[in-house]
């Protein structure tokens, strides 16, 4: 009787301990990766290819999403503001939301799927096929070779991709306002400039740097912890997308509370 009452607490306790253990392992891995920064000879040659793979190759999907987000934002703003509020506030709403929230967060969530899952599957396959062990036997530091260039590349490239996405999102909102809402360019620009604060752009850049670190960090951690065969690799990729997406949203709230 008592046992059945206590069982849920016991399960909760076991899960909490497992979570703590996981956090400890992740912290150890990232501390070791930080120490591996000194092996610049190992990570530096991989940095540019990773920047191209993580950043440049992500531009089309990020811009595609930003374009349609801008269009929807413009149409919905116009729908919401009908009547009481001047129509140029469409520009304000599109600009503010694209810069402060949708540009960084939607791009990061998309890249959690594209980049995070890719890294996790790649490193997971390397782990289960002993390629990570092979790197070690060839006297390479696997963290310097595999983890450091990926995290650095994401930290450098995410803000650029996000800035591009924000620009395209605002531009598509602008074009939508001109073509479908019968607004003029001066009206849209007036709204856009109304509450514009350059700090907002810095806020977006700071957020996207942290999102880049989270997406690639989680991808590397889950990938290197992969066990089993193809099933394990699939599990790691799924886990990466779920965990990275949750952490992105938590961080988003954190930055809003701390920086705004």
């Amino acid at each position: 009787m008592i046992e059945s009452v206590l069982r849920p607490f016991s399960t909760l306790g076991v899960r909490f301990l497992a979570l703590l253990e996981e956090l400890g392992r992740a912290a150890t891995l990232f501390a070791a990766a930080f120490r591996s920064l000194r092996n610049a000879g190992v990570w530096f040659p991989n940095l540019l290819p990773e920047m191209a793979r993580i950043g440049v190759a992500s531009v089309p999907i990020a811009l595609f999403i930003a374009t349609f987000t801008g269009i929807v934002m413009s149409l919905q703003a116009s729908y919401t503001l009908t009547g009481a509020i001047p129509v140029y506030f469409v520009g304000t709403l599109v600009g503010k939301t694209m810069i402060l929230e949708l540009g960084p967060v939607l791009t990061a969530l998309t890249l959690a799927g594209r980049v995070g899952a890719n890294i996790s599957a790649e490193l997971g396959t390397m782990r289960v096929t002993e390629q990570v062990d092979a790197l070690e036997t060839l006297a390479y530091d696997p963290l310097a070779y595999l983890v450091v260039p990926r995290i650095l590349a994401a930290v450098l490239m995410f803000p650029i991709v996000v800035l591009l996405a924000m620009t395209i999102g605002i531009a598509s909102g602008w074009v939508t306002a001109l073509q479908l809402l019968d607004m003029s360019s001066p009206e849209f620009v007036k709204g856009l400039r109304l509450f514009f604060d350059p700090w907002d752009v810095w806020f977006a850049v700071i957020k996207s740097v942290s999102f880049g670190a989270i997406v690639t960090g989680v991808g590397c951690y889950c990938g290197l912890r992969t066990e089993g065969g193809a099933e394990g690799v699939g599990r790691s990729a799924t886990r990466t997308v779920v965990v990275a997406s949750m952490l992105i949203l938590c961080l988003d709230a954190f930055w809003a509370a701390v920086l705004l």
Binding site: E130, D133, A134, T137
Partner: protein, 259 residues
């Protein structure tokens, strides 16, 4: 000098894989560790190169305690040891030549031209000349194993560890790999440690054979001594006789239970 494992114990969770394994591999010889799949042979090999650390016991290579080595000392040790993985573990995003040259890129004094020359020599040695531009996915199982061997010998190691070098290969390709292992010993003077469950291969390449059973070295001897051994577990394994192999194991378990 040589490789020395003494009373090595290793557990993964509740599973005791090694329960006090002892082995000495002297310079210039090729030793084989035989045992069924899942008996801990690969785990043992990973201890020698520092990929795993023992729960207790000691692992020394050239007198240096492997589990205590860190940083540059560990790098220096790993450059003296080549590791041939069971499924080759070639980096699939790189060509065969890039794989073979990988260990040399981090070594001081090795420029591109020298690496290319050494890579070609190693590929020729394992009879893969002209295949440097291929990707691992374009190679057969035997070719992949040979490419893995070329990668392991490229930095001119003193020791070569072979993890199931002939698993999954046809008899002819197995004989080719065995011949290469013997060439490594005879022509390059490399000390070898082979783990395998292929007894034909073990008899062909090994100067000494050790049987790993229930986490311990059950028998060590020359191939002739192994063939003549009366131990039922060893005979059961060598002859591929499950009744003899498991029967002996069961009898011993019952003895223990009675005691």
């Amino acid at each position: 000098m040589g490789i020395h494992l003494r009373e090595v114990r290793k557990s993964f969770g509740p599973r005791d894989v090694l329960r006090g394994f002892t082995l000495r591999v002297t310079d210039g010889e090729t030793a084989a560790i035989v045992g069924p799949s899942g008996s801990g042979k690969s785990v043992l090999l990973k201890h020698v190169v520092g990929l795993l650390t023992p729960d207790s016991g000691s692992v020394t290579v050239d007198g240096a305690a492997v589990p205590e080595l860190k940083g540059r000392a560990l790098v220096r040790l790993r450059r003296r040891i080549g590791y041939v993985f069971q499924f080759a573990a070639l980096f699939d995003s790189m060509t065969v030549a890039e794989n073979v040259g990988m260990g040399l890129r981090r070594m001081p004094g090795w420029d591109r031209r020298r690496i290319r020359a050494r890579t070609e020599d190693c590929l020729a040695l394992v009879e893969l000349a002209g295949m440097g531009d291929r990707y691992p996915a374009q190679l057969s199982g035997g070719q992949r194993k040979r490419a893995g061997l070329a990668r392991a010998i490229a930095p001119s190691p003193r020791y070569l560890l072979y993890d199931e070098p002939t698993t999954g290969l046809d008899p002819v390709t197995t004989a080719v790999i065995d011949r290469l292992i013997l060439r490594m010993r005879d022509e390059l003077g490399v000390t070898g440690l082979v783990v395998t469950h292929d007894m034909t291969s073990a008899f062909r390449v090994a100067d000494r054979i050790t049987m790993l059973h229930e986490g311990k070295a059950r028998f060590t001897g020359t191939p002739a001594e192994v063939r003549a051994a009366a131990d039922p577990v060893l005979r059961g394994f060598v002859e591929g006789n499950p009744d003899l192999y498991f029967g002996a194991g069961r009898a011993r378990s019952e003895d223990r239970a009675e005691r």
